[in-house]
Amino acid sequence: MIRINKLVKHYGKLEVLKEVSIDFNPGTITAVVGPNGSGKTTLIKTILGLVKPTAGEVIVDGKKVNGEHLYRSKIGYMPQIARYPDNLSIEEVVRMIKDIRYSNDTDHSKLAEGFNLSKELKKPFRNLSGGTKQKVSALIAFLFNPEILILDEPTSGLDPVSSSYLKDMIIREKEKGRTIILTSHNMSDIEELSTGIAFLLEGKIRFWGPTEILRNRNGTKNLERAIATMMSGDERCN
């Protein structure tokens, strides 16, 4: 599980996160939503150690993250934009990641099959489309059976077949008791997947609770409208 405690991040004068506190629990899928520039990616990157917090703490499985690196072996991360070395093939990059994680015996063929990547494994990345690269990111994120999955816009750019395969996998992982965090602008994905929602606006958490509660909030039973109302800055919903 991940606990975030009064996390603050400044970029110069810009305050991106203002005392954000939130828990991500095993067996749940938390969708982090909010308008562009609300701090979603910064929040995710702080958990991964890519961004160093100005103040506050990130605690993963009871241990505070502070320049450590080994905790990341528990995390599978799927970035929003994927780029890999142009001249390496998918197989080589996957082998490299296995190599640095000391888990050479992990088998990727089943996942590759599922994402329909089997035929592309030997092709260099410069010849692969954006969607294919996205699938490779997904493959790497799920490959080591991590306790924590962090997925930044996982379904954008995927074809319907891969997208539904990915969503099925996300749900299966949740049932295995994994902690899953995802961001998305696609409300139907969020509705389908998430058990909880964290709504970020201007660096603060404005709502954090089960998806059901948010959906029923303004009587429309429509998640998209409920979120849109919050995004337009309606303070009453607190």
Binding site: Y11, K45, L48, G49, L50, V51, K52, H69, L70, Y71, R72, S73, I75, Y77, P79, I81, A82, R83, Y84, P85, D86, N87, L88, E92, V93, M96, I97, D99, I100, R101, P124, S137, I140
Partner: protein, 262 residues
């Protein structure tokens, strides 16, 4: 350490297939083929090569290093989400970039050299040339890494890299001449010595001259160095400062890399 080599290995696999590295190697193959083919005096050929090396290697290393790091941004982020330290990745990336450049240069110059059978008389000339070329590759890759870690904006970083190269390779010599001309009434040895130590390209040139006692042939700073330190200690000083020119940017780059927000 083991992890660094794992990263380096894949970086090398990637870059040895890169058309830029192949082109770079081919460029050195071509010019040293021309030199050794048309110049029967191996020393003169190496001297001409040195003058090309002193311009081309800093330029290519600094541009290639900067571009490579900017283009690997998303890949670096992905790697940093793996259980490795930033230091490991930084060293891995650095060696993965500089080793292909250095070996491309070494191969490109050495093959024609041995093909034209120069090894008997001029092996030490080649050896010195290789040392200078490889050192400059590492120095300018380190500067390139420093620049691209510092600036997030690609065009800013690239522009700055070009300015640094232009300053050290072209403007600096003019500056020294300017100082000599305007302050000719003053004792200038010490300031000029300090000025040439502050430029890695000058250091490479001085190192070469001191090795072959042709200081007088190659300008004011070389002659001064020779007079001041004599060959041996002059060489020691030029090598030590060249090493510092590598370590200072590299370690500063690592320090910033560790603190950076990706």
């Amino acid at each position: 350490m083991q992890l660094i080599w794992k990263i380096v290995r894949y970086e090398l696999n990637n870059l040895y297939r890169s058309k830029w590295i192949i082109l770079y190697t081919a460029f050195f193959l071509l010019i040293s083929y021309v030199m050794f083919n048309f110049e029967s005096d191996g020393s003169k050929a190496v001297l001409t090569l040195l003058n090309i090396v002193l311009i081309v290697i800093p330029l290519v290393s600094i541009i290639f290093g900067t571009m490579y790091l900017y283009n690997s941004r998303e890949f670096i982020e992905m790697m940093l989400c793996q259980p490795i330290t930033r230091r490991t990745l930084f060293y891995g990336l650095f060696m993965g970039t500089s080793i292909p450049l250095a070996s491309g240069f070494t191969l490109g110059v050495s093959v024609p050299f041995f093909v034209f059978n120069m090894a008997g008389a001029y092996l030490s000339d080649l050896f010195i040339l290789l040392i200078i070329g490889i050192s400059l590759t590492f120095v300018f890759c380190a500067i390139a890494f420093l620049i691209s870690v510092k600036y997030d904006d690609k065009s800013k970083g690239l522009g700055f890299a070009i300015v640094v190269w232009l300053f050290l390779a072209v403007i600096y010599d003019g500056l020294i001449l300017f100082v000599i001309y305007f302050f000719q009434d003053y004792p200038l040895e010490n300031p000029i010595l300090v000025m040439s130590i502050l430029n890695p390209i000058d250091l490479g040139r001085i190192f070469f001259m001191l090795n072959f006692d042709i200081a007088a042939l190659m300008g004011y700073t070389g002659a001064l160095f020779n007079k001041f330190f004599g060959s041996t200690s002059g060489m020691m000083i030029s090598v030590t400062t060249l090493v510092l020119w590598f370590f200072i940017p590299a370690l500063l780059g690592l320090k910033w890399f560790k603190k950076k927000d990706f």
